[in-house]
């Protein structure tokens, strides 16, 4: 077996696939190398829920046989990956990060698992997550069956959640890419904290069949990768209509960087306060430098702000009611008390008591908010904001108010709940460091504008190397 080098563990998808196609490395060697790495390094960061290395090697053997016969499937063929533990894999434990489901086994594969198998990507393992993808809210990073996700850049800091293991695995070179999910922030937050690129697709673009439901009209699945380009390749493989997902948009996605709009044709909306007032003092230089890089792309920058709606309470009401309904059997059985986080337990129970009137108010106002947000995109193609703060310490309560006074200008800081309520696609881009911890940008566009977001990301990453940085001690 060839010795896999650090360069391979941090290589992009196109390069790995080229090496497999050229028989410079076999798919089995990649599956064995990454699988071994995930098993040995994964527990160090509480990133691994279930290793599937042997299964991955079997899949990889089939890939090598195909390559030998000259049957080339596409860019993911032979490139292994990890999947958040809310995705069912036939015959394997799918615990949803939660003790009450620690022995749960489904007899079918989630659609994204099927699609990636069809693309020739071996599955290395199930990746750790915040229990029940965070449910209606949690207080501590320790809200997980596998313990708190530890940040590869500093293990005293949180990885972010709920797709903790997915972000960690990519950041630490334990998998070339990973699949996570977002209901409200569960892709964008861990991507920013761990310094990886990730895409939250338009609602309905990727089938959620076989994924744990949390909120039917908010849940999305998306990739964590080394670059925007890799996100495009993975999205092309996992997107597509699926009659088994009632929220499916019935659309495919083709990654077409060759047809990307010229940067000079784009208008990017931003709020100055997001870069100058909201970030921690330590993060401002990184964000301001990133902003100047964005400016250098040649797009027109337009000051803007979000329509004025109570996005937090709206998404809070919808998510709380949906989650309580999904998990009503867990609540009524009393097993909800086996969860790790007291705030989540109480939030699920109290969610059952929210009136239909409140829920419908939130859902009807959501319609207004969506219309208003889409109208904003008449003036700009993309919205840009900063993830204002780096990863918090593991033991810190996540719902604690910041010590300093918050700026009066809200800017685009509510873009995460607003974008999720409107079903918008979003891209997380690493853009620098603050106190040794990664910080990131957040771009959002109109539904099904993933190619535009990815084009901006690719241009940004052609001028920076933040996405290529390696955490200390990962080889």
């Amino acid at each position: 077996m060839a010795e896999l080098t650090s360069e391979i563990f941090f290589a992009g998808i196109a390069e790995l696939h080229r090496m497999v196609s050229a028989k410079e490395v076999s798919a089995v060697e990649l599956a064995r190398g990454f699988g071994g790495r995930l098993e040995s390094f994964g527990p160090r960061y509480n990133a691994l829920a279930l290793p599937l290395t042997e299964q991955a090697i079997r899949q990889a053997k089939a890939v090598d046989a195909e390559v030998k016969r000259g049957r080339l499937r596409g860019p993911l063929q032979g490139v292994p990956y990890g999947a958040k533990d809310l995705l069912s894999v036939a015959g394997q434990i799918t615990a949803w990060g939660a003790r009450p489901y620690a022995a749960q086994i489904f007899d079918y594969d989630a659609t994204v698992i099927q699609k990636l198998a069809g693309a020739g990507a071996p599955l290395l393992g199930k990746l750790a997550m915040v229990e029940l993808a965070g449910g209606p809210g949690y207080r501590y990073a320790s809200a997980s069956l596998t313990g708190p996700g530890l940040n590869p850049w500093d293990r005293t800091r949180w990885s972010g959640g709920s797709s903790s293991g997915s972000a960690i695995a990519v950041a630490a070179g334990l998998a070339p890419f990973a699949i996570g999910s977002e209901t409200s922030g569960s892709i964008l937050t861990p991507a920013a904290f761990c310094g990886v690129t990730a895409l939250r697709p338009t609602y309905g673009l990727v089938s959620r069949y076989g994924a744990m439901p949390l909120s039917w009209t908010l849940d999305k699945l998306g990739p964590f990768c080394r670059s925007a380009e890799d996100c495009g390749l993975v999205l092309e493989a996992i997107a597509g209509g699926d009659r088994r997902d009632p929220g499916s948009a019935g659309k495919s996605f083709y990654y077409t960087p060759q047809y990307a709009r010229k940067m000079s044709d784009l208008r990017i909306g931003y709020a100055p306060a997001d870069f100058s007032e909201w970030p921690d003092e330590s993060a401002r230089p990184a964000f301001q430098a990133a902003f100047e890089t964005i400016r250098s792309l040649g797009a027109t920058l337009v000051e803007t702000k979000l329509p004025d709606f109570p996005y937090g309470p709206m998404i809070g009401a919808i998510l709380s009611v949906d989650a309580a309904s999904v998990f009503e059997p867990l609540i009524s059985s009393g097993k909800v008390d086996q969860l790790a986080d007291q705030k989540q337990i109480a939030g699920l129970k109290a969610g059952l008591e929210i009136s239909a009137n409140v829920y419908l108010k939130a859902m009807r106002m959501r319609r207004l908010a969506k219309d208003a947000i889409l109208k904003l995109f008449g003036d700009v193609d993309v919205l840009l904001t900063a993830n204002s703060y780096p990863a918090p310490k593991i033991e810190e309560p996540l719902d604690r108010h910041p010590d300093r006074a918050m700026p009066k200008d809200a800017g685009l800081t509510a873009l995460t709940p607003a974008g999720n309520l409107a079903g918008l696609p979003a891209l997380a881009l690493p853009c620098g460091f603050a106190g040794g911890l990664p910080v990131g940008l957040h771009l959002a566009g109109v539904p099904f504008s993933e190619n535009t977001l990815l084009a901006i990301g690719k241009e940004f990453q052609s001028r920076t190397d933040w996405h290529k940085r390696k955490p200390p001690g990962v080889g």
Binding site: R139, P310, P313, G316, S320, I345, L360, R367, D371
Partner: protein, 79 residues
């Protein structure tokens, strides 16, 4: 005359503008108080209090937004 807004649930620009202007920035009612509740009963009460604040925030905004009756909840269902 046919009222397109009643049949489609779409808002006119004026209605939309009024809605945006009327919906003032209100503190995120889902935020928790700084002190941590002690024990399951206090935690459940804190969750109920959060939900109450959420309901009040939505009601405050609701009162300021002239929402056409035809605006449906943002559900999606295909047969």
């Amino acid at each position: 005359m046919r009222d397109r807004n009643r049949t489609t649930g779409q808002m006119t620009r004026r209605q939309l503008g009024a809605a945006i202007l009327a919906a003032t920035a209100i503190a995120d009612a889902a935020q928790t108080p700084p002190s941590e509740p002690s024990g399951p009963a206090a935690e459940l009460q804190a969750a109920r209090d959060r939900n109450q604040r959420t309901a009040e925030t939505l009601a405050t905004n609701w009162a300021k937004v002239e929402l056409p009756m035809a605006v449906e909840p943002a559900f999606h269902f295909t047969a």
